[in-house]
Subunit: 214 residues, 2 copies
């Protein structure tokens, strides 16, 4: 049993797996003019966090959400300028996380509305840090496997990502760094039961329900 809780800010990173980069295709055109040279981060604030077993309401006007399965590194201490070689020493444990987004978010504006609605980050309890290389994350919706991804496909490994992020930003104890999400993840609708699992880390289950105002 790990005592460290998710208590701070959750950071995520996009474009950190080869499958997503291939799916998006060339980033050489305007406005990007090249693949990102540093981690492209986003933030999931506290209002997004819900526990395993929660019912997540669709935001008003939405009829589906993308469900991106990922792993979160939970910081066991404040950490700035970590070296990749021992960056994982600052990690207390990991969580299974489902990064929920409204589909068709613009890539050209900060997607706060699309990524930060209440309940947009179901997370599991904190588990011991496993060997993440080769870990396979499976997403089931209504009992059917709709996605499976291996963390071997990461562009930046968890340790490299921690080093690159803490080079310029101090992470606090209890903060979480999500190791990356897949571009165009599977979608869930009102009534869907979602289950994300990985060998040795158990599972994270939640349901999607119609919002009060929708």
């Amino acid at each position: 049993m790990i005592k460290q809780k998710v208590s701070g800010t959750v950071y995520g990173v996009i474009l950190n797996d080869n499958a997503s980069l291939q799916k998006i295709g060339s980033l050489d055109e305007a406005p990007y003019k090249g693949a990102p040279k540093a981690p492209v981060l986003y933030i999931k604030p506290a209002n997004t966090r819900v526990a395993c077993g929660s019912a997540v309401e669709l935001p008003a006007g939405a009829d589906s959400v993308e469900v991106a399965a990922t792993i979160g590194l939970v910081m066991g201490r404040a950490a700035g300028r970590l070296a990749a070689g021992n960056a994982l020493d600052a990690v207390a444990g990991v969580v299974l996380a489902a990064d929920l987004s409204l589909p068709h978010a613009s890539y050209y504006r900060p997607a706060i509305r699309e990524k930060c609605f209440d309940g947009a980050l179901p997370v599991s309890s904190v588990k011991p840090l496993a060997d993440l290389a080769g870990l396979v994350l499976t997403t089931e919706i209504d009992g059917e496997v709709v996605d499976s991804r291996s963390l071997n496909d990461l562009v930046r490994s968890p340790a490299r990502l921690l080093a690159d992020v803490t080079e310029w930003m101090t992470l606090a104890q209890g903060d979480v760094l999500l190791v990356g999400i897949r571009y165009q993840a599977p979608q869930a609708k009102a009534g869907s039961v979602v289950c994300i699992g990985a060998e040795g880390l158990g599972s994270l289950q939640f349901t999607i329900v119609q919002g009060a105002q929708a």
Copy 2:
């Protein structure tokens, strides 16, 4: 003396004043194809917050930062789906804030690196909620007034902004909503002493210093 502290997440909004919209010019072209219909938010996480009197280190490789003076609304209670008519009832007080950014941030990727470095949000202590209409914020760098802005120029008033944001996101007690920053704010360099002030709200002072790695 107000007991509520800034304890949660700080949210800001861009493109919420007429002067910035005019300076940017047309947003009708690709990729935007129109002015934003909802508040365009960003997040300043806990590592960015420093108090009045702080020395803020320039991030490695930077030789100046943009200093955008603004006002933050400090939530006195958790708030979801506020109506504009009484939204300010949920506000415990206000802070003077300096939203620091690296210049020339891309508008096409989430600007976390540019906006979320350690110390990128000097904030004052919490003051009683003043009548913000007509409030003038003044920015001095090394004793010279380099910017002056009136909150009369806001597109969404503080109450309207609170209503529009809490329509889809619950703000927690201690969270802060910054009411908007000016596009292309004045820049400060290593050694600059910055002072932001507003009638009735006192002042917020800090210095910019060279970073250890720069």
